[in-house]
């Protein structure tokens, strides 16, 4: 089968899984709504003011969209960071980039206000991107030794930078009114909420840009696995490539952090599972991660809002609960050296 044919098949299968997850998600929730009423609301045949229509169309669907988008963005960011560092453990939260983005977003909330929900969303993402880039550069400067990024140094640098930015965020939040603090602490745990159409569009646009930056260079990322010098000798502009992937992965991370808070380990679990099935080709992995990451986080978020209903768990708690064991497994099982 041709490469393109295989990719189409993989994406079709994953899209089916995503749709199945979305079907469960739209049926489940603390408001008991019969499947027939759900279908009616989805078909637009319910009274727009009815409980069914509001719950399905204004709460569940926007939340499903937000979860799928955030999961896809995080998984692709993981693929990007892993290819960039040639390390399967690299991931926005492990590298401290999420903490950096969270710091940026909190700064953004403190120093600026107003301008409507769309302007708010863009501004917070831009501040988040600043923080993510700052953290990423810091990790790189700490970890780079003689032109290489040794695995353990990279992980330690990520942990340290993550702790630093988390502490900086704590300092900033202590300046806040205690009544806003509850909201920030909740957000820092990573939570998906229904996002209104306009800011959801902004989120999709920003994440889409990050995705395009990475997937558009997926073939070059494969070559980067041969080593930077070998990639250059095959005609890859390695420095420009690395910068582009870094910015793309940081933008994906920042957009998720701005809209849902730092949600950990999605970028680790999803690419790892996909690699086991699909192999290492980034041209397949990156698009597959977009869809599979969406399905994964959607499933996690559906759990988060149903296990202790009507109360809700933070989805970040669930992803970390799944992700930390995978991290340990990868750390112990990985072969010497690279990917």
């Amino acid at each position: 089968m041709s490469h393109a044919g295989r990719l189409a098949l993989v994406l079709a299968a994953l899209a089916a899984a995503l749709l199945a997850t979305a079907a469960i998600a739209v049926l489940a929730g603390s408001a008991r709504i019969a499947p027939g009423s759900v279908a009616q609301a989805l078909a637009g045949r319910a009274d727009p003011a009815s409980t069914e229509a509001v719950v399905i169309l204004s709460l569940r669907l926007p939340r499903i969209a937000a979860a799928a988008l955030a999961g896809g963005a995080l998984a692709v960011a993981g693929v990007g960071f892993q290819a960039l560092t040639r390390n399967p453990l690299a991931e926005p939260s492990v590298l401290g980039v999420s903490s950096g983005a969270a710091f940026g977003v909190v700064v953004g909330q403190l120093v600026t206000t107003g301008g409507g929900i769309v302007a708010d969303a863009v501004r917070l993402t831009v501040f988040g991107l600043g923080g993510a880039l700052l953290a990423g550069v810091a990790v790189y400067l700490i970890a780079a030794i003689g032109g290489g990024l040794p695995v353990h140094t990279l992980l330690l640098a990520g942990v340290i930078v993550g702790i630093f930015f988390a502490s900086a965020t704590t300092v900033l939040t202590s300046l806040l009114d205690i009544n806003r603090l509850g909201g920030i602490v909740h957000w820092l745990l990573g939570n998906i909420s229904p996002i209104a159409p306009a800011p959801l569009g902004v989120f999709a646009l920003l994440a889409g840009l990050g995705f395009a930056l990475i997937v558009g260079r997926a073939r070059q990322l494969n070559l980067l696995a041969l080593g930077e010098e070998a990639a250059v000798q095959l005609g890859v502009a390695a420095e420009r490539l690395k910068l582009r992937i870094f910015v793309g992965a940081a933008l994906l991370t920042a957009s998720v952090v701005a809209f849902a808070g730092p949600i950990g380990f999605v970028g680790l679990v999803v690419p790892h599972a996909l690699r086991l099935v699909l192999g290492p080709d980034n041209r397949v992995l990156a698009p597959a991660a977009l869809v599979a990451g969406g399905a994964f986080l959607l499933a996690a978020d559906t759990l988060a809002r149903t296990v202790v209903a009507p109360a809700e768990l933070s989805v970040g708690v669930i992803t970390s609960f799944c992700g930390a064991p995978v991290f340990v497994y990868l750390l112990r099982a990985r072969p010497r050296g690279g990917l």
Partner: protein, 274 residues
């Protein structure tokens, strides 16, 4: 024979911060030509500038002075992809843990021919298959490169370079990790590729005898300068090698090929000392 590669007055020094803890690798006024279809062996002690020369030929580094011309065009005027379509490097090995299959790695050699394409075409696959057959790894196409022996991996990297369909093949210490049998295989393979495809070869090697057996001419580098350039018999002279390597050598004749053979002249003292 027409000139493929012309190197004239090549100078290079690593920036000071990178040479702080390491010896100062450099090239100074290096001049030589490589003819179409020729095999040129580049030899010399450690830090003579061999690896730096490869990096300059592939624009991983830019020269501080002098010029490198490929078929009369300065490398400076060639794009990255254009250069990679003409010059292919066979590295010593693939990075440890590289997760790709043999076929995936060999297909990477097609990148410079259509860098904007997302997936390789059937035509690319045909070129890759042919390259794998030429180096005898076609049966391993779906195997992970990690699972291969050192000699097999070497042939995979060679196939990847052939898939680039280059005019010039640059080999970086091709036998560094190979035992005797694979060394012999490698030498034979190199000769046949050179003869059948008309590809010129720049063979960088520690192994003076391999270079002597395979190469048409040898370039001996010492401390970044050309110590001598010429046919193997003219370069592999006892006095010259003794001076360059700083240890006494004897040069013999190979029993079959009649080419020079270099051996370290163990002094009786050091032999007893063992």
């Amino acid at each position: 024979m027409s000139v493929l590669l012309e190197v004239r007055g090549l100078d290079f020094a690593y920036p000071p911060e990178r040479s702080r803890s390491a010896p100062r690798f450099a090239l100074s006024a290096v001049t030589f030509t490589l003819a179409r279809g020729e095999i040129l062996g580049v030899i010399g002690p450690n830090s003579a500038g061999k690896t730096t020369l490869i990096r300059l030929l592939t624009r991983v580094l830019e020269p501080a002075g002098g010029d490198i011309r490929l078929e009369g065009t300065s490398l400076r005027r060639l794009g990255r992809w254009e250069l990679a379509r003409q010059v292919a490097v066979v590295p010593q090995d693939v990075p440890p843990g590289l997760p790709f299959t043999v076929e995936q790695v060999v297909l990477m050699g097609r990148y410079p021919h259509a860098p904007r394409r997302f997936f390789e075409t059937a035509a690319d696959l045909a070129v890759a298959r042919e390259a794998m057959e030429a180096t005898g790894v076609d049966e391993l196409a779906q195997a992970s490169v990690q699972s291969l022996s050192g000699g097999e991996r070497q042939r995979v990297t060679l196939a990847r370079a052939l898939a680039q369909e280059p005019r010039l093949l640059v080999l970086d210490e091709p036998t560094a990790h190979l035992d005797l049998r694979y060394q012999a295989e490698c030498a034979t393979l190199l000769r046949s590729i050179n003869r059948e495809r008309g590809v010129s070869v720049l063979l960088v090697s520690h192994d003076l005898n391999l270079a002597a057996q395979v190469s048409d001419r040898l370039l001996l580098l010492n401390e970044g300068r050309v110590a001598r350039l010429g046919p193997p018999a003219a370069v592999l002279e006892e006095a010259l090698l003794t001076a360059v390597y700083g240890c006494p050598v004897v040069v013999d004749r190979h029993a079959v090929t009649g080419r020079p053979m270099v051996q370290v002249a163990w002094s009786p003292l050091s032999a007893e000392g063992r």
